[in-house]
Amino acid sequence: MPQPPLFESKGEPEQSGLVARSRRGDNAEPLTITQISASLKRTVEDRFGHVRLRGELSGVKRAASGHLYCALKDDKAVIDGVMWKGAAGALPFVPEDGIEVVATGKVTTYAGRSKYQIVIDSMEIAGEGALLALLEKTRLRLEAEGLFDPARKRALPFLPQTIGVVTSPTGAVIRDILHRLADRFPSHVIVWPVLVQGQGAAEQVANAVRGFSSIERGGKVPRPDLVIVARGGGSVEDLWGFNDEMVVRAIAESTIPIISAVGHETDTTLCDYAADRRAPTPTAAAEIAVPVRSELQAAIDDLAHRKKRCASRPVTLGRERLEARAGRLPRPESLLQAQTQRLDEMAERLKRGLKDRAVQARERLQGDSAKLSGPLLRARWTSARDRLAAARLVPTLPQRRLAGDRQRFDALARLYASLDPEAPLQRGFVLVKDADGRLVRSRTVGATQPLLEVKFADGTLAVVPQAHADPPQPSAPLPPSRKAKRAKSASAAAQDDLFG
């Protein structure tokens, strides 16, 4: 060391001797570490028994024991801090790194590690700017968790039966809500009275929101189908309870749709982000909650009126259509007109035809009757009689002629009888014919014939000339004519039999 020691004993350089020994005139024993630590602790605690430090939080850590460990720093220095469980639990905000706070407490030492630290009794956020910074941090964290996800938002009931209101039982807020509800649609409202500011407010609000959610349907206490969380306007600090994570989570987890109406329109709390609907003011929340009864009444009346008007419409339409068709139907008399006309015409023609026919017939009759006049008939009859008379028909005329004719007939009859070629047969002559019936006039001819037919007065006889008889025929066959005749008569008899 370049600097000379403070307590230098002349000529005794063994101060840096190997073994420590007590010096002369020095009765101070060396301090133990515990002693110095205790001494330091006393000094520090006496001197810094109550300090307020302003600094930025960093390294915030909440131990399982409930104690909160952190460091407070500025741009050059850092001091560790601890907040025991009791104090940490009462913090109105969730300490986060980077938040500028004002911490109140005492500085103490931790001998075990040669450290000093501040034991924080209370911690506040250092100004509104820092508060807003914390708010933003919390918002981002919860947003990242999905608590403000638009998909989580539930539709509000159109006309809630029961409305739960979480707010202070006193003050303008509840009155505004109730008035506006009464104006629009008188409803069943259940108020859950809570503190809306200060210590315990956040917890009460969160419990109320959860409490409404826990009401069973059909229980003693009717379950609201809509909850309004409301608070009047105030500073960021006043509204702080509604930025509390506990409240935000309770709202996000609510099983009943929630309208958040905290502060004025310009104030936005995390509770607004988590709610299903944000109303700028408590009055607006009431307006969002229920429709206007009179408007609904008007709508229903209008529908009823329109419906009534429509009711007769199909009938009217039907009647119109029926009438339109009925109008197009032909009149019954016109259906028969053509036929009637035709009938009339036919009847007329029939009458006229009959008359015409009679006239025609009469004309023909008269034309003929001209020829049938009496004098004409008589004239014809007279001339006929005259001609009859002129004929002079007397019996002697035919008789004379008859006698003459008879004489001539008798003479001719006698001559005829004498000329009969077969008459001589009576007297023994015969006629000779050949097989074909031709008359055989000479022997020469006769000799050439194989068979001759000799006709006697009483019949014919078949004869074979001598020249052909040489090879004598066993017996003269019957003349074929006779044979044929017989066959013919036999067949005739058969035919007779057929018919007989």
Partner: protein, 83 residues
């Protein structure tokens, strides 16, 4: 649509109102056969009465929660906002 729902009393006000609107629109359209329109009209009337009943039942009733020791709502009491 709540068209097929026979028990109108179970329909919410909003659905009933919408169904009524639907009925009126159909009737006004004139497309519905006469017979059907009579049924439709009757249904519309029921829906209207249902809606009307809900409106007529509207009355302010203000209560406040009385929580039990467990913090759960135990009962309600009349609430006077003026206090």
């Amino acid at each position: 649509m709540a068209e097929g729902t026979s028990d109108i009393s179970q329909i919410s006000f909003e659905d009933a109102l919408r169904a009524l609107e639907d009925v009126v629109r159909k009737l006004e359209g004139g497309e519905v056969p006469l017979d059907e329109s009579i049924d439709l009209y009757e249904r519309g009337e029921k829906l209207r009465l249902h809606c009307q009943a809900r409106l007529d039942a509207a009355q302010a009733r203000i209560e406040k929660i009385v929580a039990g020791p467990d913090g759960k709502p135990r009962e309600t009491q009349p609430f006077d906002a003026a206090s």
